[in-house]
Symmetry: C2
Subunit: 125 residues, 2 copies
Amino acid sequence: MGSVGTALAEMTMPQISPLAGEPIERADAERLAGVLKALADPARLRLLSLIQAAPDGEACVADLTSPLGLSQPTVSHHLRILTESGLLEREKRGVWAYYRLVPASIATIADLLTPPRKRATKRAR
Amino acid sequence: MGSVGTALAEMTMPQISPLAGEPIERADAERLAGVLKALADPARLRLLSLIQAAPDGEACVADLTSPLGLSQPTVSHHLRILTESGLLEREKRGVWAYYRLVPASIATIADLLTPPRKRATKRAR
DNA sequence: TGCTGATATGCAGGCGGGTCGATGCTGTTG
DNA sequence: CAACAGCATCGACCCGCCTGCATATCAGCA
């Protein structure tokens, strides 16, 4: 396991909003940008949308290639990026790999992007 | 003026959420991805953060180059992208160009990314 | 055991984007 | 009017990413 691409969905979800209080630092900006980069792709947005709208809120790769019009390796690639960003979770049942949303992650991003109008931003310290 | 890069901040703000209801279409995905691409950059996130934290909620280019550690043309480039995405607005006073946030735009993005947990999402059909 | 099907990975091509230096433009100042 | 300062644009370089093809891996099945 000396390689690089395994189990990194840990430090992905940032905590500091760029829209509340003092300017964010470089490291926080890069982490938030990383998750936003995962979102900022039409194919991946459609993947999230397709999975969310799937019968049980889950879908496997074969169900997604046709609606997207992309090849199977490309779809796997996008699903991998979304999973490593913490936006999707993967469960392998038999030969199929089922992907489903992680609502908390997306909610966190939405929260960070919400200006301090209605959210309290928890400035309680 | 037959060029391409002028006054495009019109069809930028999307309306359809990828996380509520039926799958989004390709065009909507591309528009939302466009705005997210504008956000998905550390320098631009820090720019938004710096402007938001500025004394009157506004800042000019010269105030932003030093904290970012980027050259003035690069900062102008990022500000241009943010402005064309509808996230910033520009007001030129004399020689200075003052940029400020457009909270409604960012709130729209945050709203589209909010899963139908707390938001009503208008599932009325 | 050997085969088929579903998924992941390697590799390569092509395009878009971030960055900087140089330059042009405009408004201010002496 | 001349010099200067702030900002935008241009051209260029380089890196990362999206995509597909080929291939490897793994589970189920005859």
